[in-house]
């Protein structure tokens, strides 16, 4: 009813819709719009910007300086308790942090190390005494700190790290020790130069009086590492500079080792596990497994914010490539003018699906951030809420970080030689984003976690039901699947469409059809996996591991499908917030483009599983091509709605300079033609002669 009356007031919106850029920008900014806007205004400050000309040592010093500016002027403490000078604002804090990437990803990650990891570990893993003693220095950057978790020999498998912290009841100290080279802490920001302390993760070993030494698993310790005056390592501590990296060279990543370094018993960050003076271990969480995951749980904020930062990096790339693609001309058109790049169908094919996915990722990220805020503020903080949060973050972080890499690369190529110039920032941003795919949880490892969760949820549906229920369900699905798989289902679709492409497209543009296709794929993949992995319970550990390994690729594909669904649902929910009719129409095309691109990418699956007939499968591609033509006139509006200024994007070719050059060249030829001084092409002469 409302929609109808809106249509009446804007009768042309249907035929020739306009994007309300300001409104769309507001929708995209989401719940923390004010904080994001304020952060963006602050980040226009050139003191905070990457200077591409700096070599690594100067870049590192500049970023440290910028970190101190952030500490003083950057409102970086929102996530900390009000009592400690913060604002207890978890979502807002990450929203702000995600924007920092426009200044320099090195600054973003250095800030992440300082406040998101080092200070945050003190806050979340420590207790009152630690907060009093260590937080002020960490928050103010008086104590630049390293987060010493990863080791050369153990990245994503934190539970297996080799560093030990053995309790000595004689002196009431822990002895932190690195037993071999692979147990050196590695890739730690602040470790090569600036860090004077570290939160060190180690296997806590202690014995109750008279008992056997027990390894209580990974715990965190506050360990001073350098003399803040001289910058020299403290006795027993050593390390190495990681040196040049593929990107993020504003951060002084390095390695650390410990040779029987003693720290007081009270410097164990003891919220989830403590050791009494006599060596007795205690923990509020009985299960060592659950304890470990609880301690690591605070890491989720890293993944959440990387997701948001990656989306922002993709936005910068698209603003640059689409603005340039709208100005740059190449190869003759039909008149005197050359064709604008974005009018080429292939240019649209390369860029616009990435634009659609960026919107999907932005909306999905906003939902993730709200979930994160609900958990961390305590508003919705059950075990299940935390697990949901971790699963969504584990699904979206791989998706968005890979998407940013793809997008920046395609944008760089779409800008040709200009894209390769550092001044246009695409290559530098891509180089910096590269490691986002493997740090804070390797993308492939995270996707496996997601798949395991999907399988567990699937199994849980049948928990408590009688033993036959799952078997009956499976048998039902199998019959269902058999129907899908026969040519019959396809024939039915073909009959329904009557060979009519329009009818087939009408089907595909339907929101519920897209949802069904995307959801069905995840569910079917999970069911097939559950079925395939069912024998594992009865097998030897070795055979079960082999069976699991055999299906590892399918597990990861299922997790990817789940992430695609989350993005699509996020986009669809975002769409519902758009009040302007024209904007909603264009954005619906963009959402359809995203959905259909995902379906096209997995088209073989839909065909093999009988979900789409060959006829409908063909119309997926033709509908995508129709959508590209429809969206093309709105491409500039759609990137403008990201709300990024030239001071954020800072790509010379996105500044309008290309349009000026093109105009100057065209004016030159217009003048020549008008004056009659233009040399005659030999070709035309030949035609006459």
């Amino acid at each position: 009813m409302t929609i109808l009356s809106e249509k009446r007031t804007a009768p042309d919106a249907d035929a020739d819709p306009r994007v309300d850029v300001d409104h769309l920008e507001e929708v995209l900014l989401g719940r923390w719009a004010d904080i994001r806007r304020e952060a963006r205004a602050f980040l226009l400050d050139p003191r905070l910007h990457r200077d591409e000309s700096l070599a690594m040592p100067e870049h590192r010093e500049r970023v440290l300086e910028q970190l101190r500016i952030l500490a003083k002027e950057g409102d970086v403490l929102r996530a900390f308790p009000t009592a400690l000078g913060g604002a207890d604002d978890h979502g807002g804090s990450l929203a702000r942090f995600e924007e920092v990437i426009t200044a320099d990803p090195s600054l973003q990650i250095k800030a992440g190390v300082q406040w998101g990891l080092f200070a945050s570990a003190i806050l979340h893993l420590g207790t009152e005494s630690h907060h009093e003693r260590f937080l002020p220095g960490a928050m103010s950057v008086d104590v630049p700190g390293a987060f010493a978790m990863t080791e050369t020999g153990h990245g994503s498998d934190v539970a297996s790290i080799g560093t030990t912290a053995t309790y000595d009841p004689e002196t009431e100290e822990f002895v932190i020790h690195t037993p071999f080279r692979a147990a050196w802490k590695d890739y730690l920001g602040n470790a090569a130069l600036h860090g004077t302390a570290a939160v060190v993760f180690a296997q806590l070993i202690t014995a109750a009086p008279g008992g056997t030494p027990v390894n209580h698993g990974v715990h965190a310790f506050y360990v001073p590492i350098r003399n803040p005056e001289t910058g020299e390592f403290l006795p027993g501590v050593g390390g190495e500079d990681d040196g040049m990296k593929g990107g993020l060279n504003g951060i002084d990543n390095g390695r650390l080792w410990f040779d029987h370094v003693r720290v007081p018993r009270t410097d164990l960050l003891n919220r989830y596990g403590d050791v009494a003076p006599d060596g007795t271990y205690s923990s509020p969480i009985a299960s060592p497994g659950r304890r470990f995951f609880t301690m690591l749980g605070t890491l989720v904020q890293g993944r959440v914010s990387l997701d948001g930062a990656a989306v922002n990096a993709a936005k910068i790339g698209l603003v640059t490539a689409i603005t340039y693609g709208n100005q740059r001309r190449q190869f003759s058109g039909t008149g005197h003018d050359e064709v604008v790049l974005l009018d080429y169908a292939e240019h649209q094919r390369r860029l616009l699906p990435l634009l659609a996915q960026t919107y999907a990722a932005a909306f999905a990220h906003e939902r993730l951030l709200q979930t994160f805020d609900a958990v961390f503020s305590g508003a919705k903080d059950t075990d299940e809420d935390r697990q949901d949060l971790e699963t969504i973050a584990a699904a979206l972080k791989p998706s968005s970080t890979w998407h940013a890499l793809t997008t920046l690369q395609v944008c760089r190529e779409a800008c040709g030689g200009q894209g390769f110039m550092a001044e246009n920032r695409l290559t530098g941003l891509r180089a910096d984003m590269d490691v986002y795919a493997t740090f804070e949880g390797d993308n492939t490892v995270l996707l496996q976690l997601v798949a395991k969760r999907l399988l567990a949820d699937f199994a849980a549906e049948f928990k408590g039901a009688d033993a036959g229920a799952m078997a009956r369900y499976m048998a039902g699905r199998a019959a269902d699947a058999a129907l899908h798989r026969t040519p019959l289902a396809r024939v039915v679709q073909t009959l329904a469409d009557g060979g009519n492409v329009r009818r087939s497209v009408g089907h595909l543009r339907d929101t519920e059809t897209q949802r069904e296709l995307l959801t069905d794929r995840v569910e079917t993949m999970v069911e097939e996996l559950a079925q395939a992995l069912r024998p594992a319970g009865k097998l030897s550990r070795e055979a079960a591991a082999d069976l699991f390994n055999e299906h590892q690729h399918a597990l990861i594909e299922a997790a990817r499908a789940h992430a695609d669904l989350l993005l699509w649902e996020g986009f669809t929910a975002g769409l519902a917030q758009v009040r302007d009719e024209g904007t909603r129409r264009v954005l619906t095309w963009l959402r359809d483009l995203f959905g259909l691109t995902v379906i096209e990418r997995n088209l073989a699956w839909y065909l093999i599983h009988g979900r789409l007939s060959a006829g409908r499968a063909r119309s997926v591609t033709s509908y995508i091509e129709r959508l590209l033509r429809r969206i093309r006139p709105h491409a500039q509006d759609l990137v403008d709605a990201f709300g990024l200024e030239q001071g954020h994007v800072r790509a010379t070719i996105a500044s309008g300079v290309e349009a000026e050059r093109q105009e100057e060249a065209r004016a030159h030829y217009r003048r020549l033609r008008a004056s009659g001084d233009m040399a005659v092409p030999e070709k035309s002469l030949g035609a006459r002669g």
Copy 2:
């Protein structure tokens, strides 16, 4: 018969084949094995290696110095005429040049600018006087030179450049002029600093006595640009440094402009077009279009050698990632040891298809290089031979340069944090290779050229035949296609396979089946395009351009399909040269993996077009998984056969250091367990208590 007797002498080869690494290396080295081996030995010289620690200015100076070393000791003049100190060895020269990438891609490209573009243009576009006057300096690098073709406003569309060379009969000079900013020459190696001369491409404008000025199209001129003593620009010449780039920062790319710079009439490189003192233009090639493409034809050697260099870059990445993946352990296995990365199915899925494609690309490149040699040596140098060469190069260069980028990225991610360290070279190589996708012919533009050639060939088949022939052919194909498209064809396949996966796989592993599937796809796509574009002839220029644009994506896909087929045929031809039975067996699996991966990537196409039943389509993926398991034990042999030494790869993690670290850690735990000092895991305690 031979195969049978070989089988008898090596009875186990079938069940448990071994790769004869030396033999395979020899096959891969190809026709110019000796030259490649000698080049590789020479390139072990550390003076020639990239030093990652150097900032741009020092890197540029180092590469110039290396260029002079190459000139003196590097046997870089093989392609030049024997009379001028060369060896008239075109294929050998490129083979040598392709290997230089192991030292530093910047050095490769700087050498390419000096000898492959600047000196080569003098050789191929100039005549005797130019050879005498300009070649010695260009060959010896006494005159570092720029190849001033590309302009800021015109990249791949060379025909539209704005720089003019207007003949002045009064002084018998050409006036080289840059009319507007977009006509500045751009991205030119040697232009920012080192170049003292340039071959400048400009629109040649002249008038026969009393005639109208005529633009004879793009021609090349030899133009001094800097005072070699002072390094200052000569009067009328100006320019800019391109500054930092996304990679290749050892090259001083820059911009040049000309303000009415006068050069003698005789400095026009006049092989394909000349101007008499009175201004009369003459050319051995009457058609301006053909003349232009003939002049640009020598550029093909750039594309050929970039194809080879890109394959070499992919090899370096794979040696690193597969060696590391064979040593690195992560996450618990079934015993005490952790699992070697390459034993994970997903790790195999990520790396081994790239290995297969690298083999395919290496073999296909060898064929391309032989074709190139035949054309440039004059052995097979008809117009058609040249066109074939250009088409193959235009198909393979996009394929291999994109493949190198993908491979280096996947390898970097497969090595986790180590992959991001500059010392392991994956990120630096990738950054350097990035621009290979858009320079020397933008990949997307090249693929369109390929597609146009495929269409032209298709049309030519019907040239001369009566008007009805094509229509009848098309009708026949349509009936054929209709058969393919009905469920009937699929049902027939299903019946043939009897639902038997083994039979279905047996079908797919057959060489002829793979060839048919890959060939059929190219042919069908081209036919469909020919059909769809047929109306263009009857349309207005504008409508025809729109029609063409509508099918641009399909054109590019057809060209990609053609490139895949070329790779597969190259691999299959390479396979035929393998004499050792075990090696051939493993390599056949690898060829099958390549073929099946291509088919899997386009599985939806095969399903929609009725070429594969759903059952066979499913078995594509299961056969790929089986091949991965079979190839996995040979992965190290297969990268060892690339014949690259640590002095070429120079990645710390490929040096064996990871195996040492792993062994040290495992020994530590073995000792602890043996001594009884190992702390008991809390978990096991809980289980007991």
